[in-house]
């Protein structure tokens, strides 16, 4: 039994979600191999080789793998799949994009968003926005899995001494073409791996106010910034800041929710945080039902005062 983890990387380094996925892979049992599929991604492959617990790194390098197109990455994984009992992806936009394509090509079910490995073929996963937890068992010969990163600690990024072997890269499918991307420059920690997150809701009232009130607090705490769906829908914050059932699932040490009422879909994305602080002037807001520390106050006064006091 050997487990293959599909690394998430920017060609130069591994993304943190890969480390959590490796921990889940180690729990499946057997050796853990990591596939780094990219273009000029030798540095990422070297980084993968240093992760504790990794037995082997497969490095596929070619122009077809430069932009993470699902058609090509899936073909690359399927080419290597026969040697593996489990194929694990992080449950991130990239992983979610590619994993089901691999599963269907192998004619196996995918187990999405696992939060626990019960045994080699049995896993726990949330359903209905985390309002129920299902234990599911696969009847297939291979398991294709996406891993909810908040369910597993990151594997140590150093201490491993895996061998990097080159594997043949697949050719381009010709079906899809990468046209471009717009990635916002961001010096803050990544939302899904941040230790502290400050998150704003619709109560902030405008994009300007969102920035004016929330940014100083985030700066002071060295925090990542998040938002509720209502705030994102209203255009106060970028789409990929959305925390919730269909956005980012986060579990930081500290989550500060400002002006967020706490719809079940939002709670689904952050209720596993270690400490939750809610600042809201509505005493009845559902967010208080999950908050360790609730401050019933006008956020326009309380948040700047908090920033000041830290």
């Amino acid at each position: 039994m050997t487990v293959l983890v599909i690394a998430e990387h920017d060609h130069a380094s591994l993304k943190p979600a890969t480390l959590n996925t490796i921990t889940a892979a180690l729990k499946c049992g057997g050796d853990v191999h990591v596939l780094v599929a990219g273009h000029n991604a030798a540095a990422a492959a070297q980084a993968a080789a240093q992760v504790a617990g990794v037995a082997q790194v497969l490095h596929a390098d070619g122009p077809a793998l430069a932009h993470g197109l699902a058609e090509n990455i899936a073909a690359q994984v399927v080419a290597l799949a026969p040697a593996y009992s489990h194929i694990l992806f992080a449950s991130t936009p990239e992983g979610k994009n590619t994993a089901p394509r691999v599963a269907a090509l192998l004619d196996v079910a995918q187990i999405s968003d696992i939060t626990q490995v019960v045994s080699a073929n049995t896993f726990e996963r949330p359903i209905y926005a985390g309002n129920a937890m299902a234990i599911v068992q696969s009847r297939d010969a291979q398991c294709v899995i996406t891993v909810r990163t908040t369910g597993f600690d990151p594997a140590p990024a150093t201490g491993g001494t895996a061998v990097v072997s080159a594997v043949n890269a697949v050719a381009d499918s010709g079906l899809s073409t990468f046209m471009g991307s717009e990635i916002a420059k961001n010096d803050r920690p990544e939302l899904t791996s941040a230790k502290i997150i400050v998150s704003g809701g619709r109560a902030l009232g405008s994009a300007d106010k969102f920035t004016e009130i929330m940014t100083p607090l985030a700066d002071k705490l060295g925090a990542a910034m998040g938002a509720s769906r209502a705030a994102v829908d209203a255009g106060y914050a970028p789409n990929d800041w959305q925390v919730g059932q269909t956005g980012k699932i986060v579990a930081p040490q500290l989550y500060v929710a400002c002006g967020i009422s706490g719809a079940i879909q939002h709670l689904a994305g952050m209720k596993d945080s270690k400490v939750i602080v809610a600042i809201n002037k509505d005493a009845e807001a559902p967010i208080f039902s999950v908050a360790d520390f609730g401050l019933e106050a006008d956020l326009f006064e309380a948040v700047p005062a908090l920033t000041q006091a830290l």
């Binding site: 936009p93 394509r101 359903i127 309002n131 829908d233 400490v275 908050a291 360790d292």
Partner: protein, 249 residues
């Protein structure tokens, strides 16, 4: 150009589901059912493409129990032209649904399939990608913008940190994200019109698809509940708690 829009009947997003006491699943008897919100966005997008004149026919497809007819009627009230129900009482998992949709896609020879990125019941986020794989066609998941021109779809996708644009050769599969559009309200005259639109019923057997579940649900339990903590009086005591009690800053 023909477009297929698969739609799923799910527990309404406002309903907080309860786990059954025998742990066999969640109790969905007598709860409000609606179209999966992401699929509603998919229907809306197809209708807008038709209004722009690039799409000629929209076929809504649903797989499941006979009550899925209501979901299909809603899709037709938004603007789908006709509907196909793949009727079965069997439990359907994403791979099986993808196979059913592949069979319909082959039959209808549509150029585009638009569907929700995930259903809010099983939260699987698989069906669109699986359909694309089975049909050996390109995919664009988490779409925030869709344009059709010259036999291609240009799709802007939501990715970590921003957006990415890809160009797909048609036929292609697109899955919708939240900000693709805001679905219109269904009007009464359109609901009446939808009742007269054609709705065909087929079965997995007639499509030659084996829908046997590959995953067994061993049990379903309540998640660990998080209790409410305390209310603090002011910012100073909040900072004190964070520093000295929780020790997180």
């Amino acid at each position: 150009m023909k477009v297929i829009v698969p739609v799923k009947r799910v527990v309404d997003y406002n309903v907080k589901v309860r786990v059954k006491s025998d742990q066999s699943g969640v109790d969905i008897a007598n709860v409000k059912m609606s179209m999966n919100p992401f699929d509603e966005i998919a229907v809306e997008e197809a209708v807008r493409l038709k209004e722009k004149g690039v799409v000629t026919e929209i076929i809504a497809v649903s797989c499941g129990v006979s009550q899925c007819q209501e979901t299909l009627r809603t899709a037709m009230a938004i603007g789908a032209d006709r509907a196909i129900l793949v009727e079965t009482d069997a439990e359907l998992q994403p791979l099986a649904v993808a196979k059913l949709l592949k069979a319909i896609l082959d039959k209808e020879q549509a150029q585009l399939v638009i569907l929700g990125k995930q259903a809010i019941d099983d939260d699987a986020n698989q069906t669109g990608q699986m359909l694309a794989a089975l049909a050996q066609r390109p995919q664009a998941t988490f779409a925030s913008k869709v344009e059709l021109a010259d036999g291609h779809a240009i799709v802007t996708r939501e990715v970590d940190g921003g957006s990415q644009t890809v160009r797909l050769q048609l036929p292609a599969i697109v899955t919708t994200d939240l900000r693709l559009n805001e679905p219109r309200y269904v009007t009464l005259p359109n609901i009446m019109k939808a009742k007269k639109k054609p709705l065909d019923t087929v079965t997995p057997e007639s499509l030659g698809v084996d829908v046997t579940p590959r995953l067994i649900t061993v049990k379903v339990t309540e998640p660990a509940q998080r209790g409410a903590g305390i209310k603090v009086a002011d910012v100073a005591s909040l900072v004190d708690k964070l520093k000295n009690v929780a020790k997180v800053i």
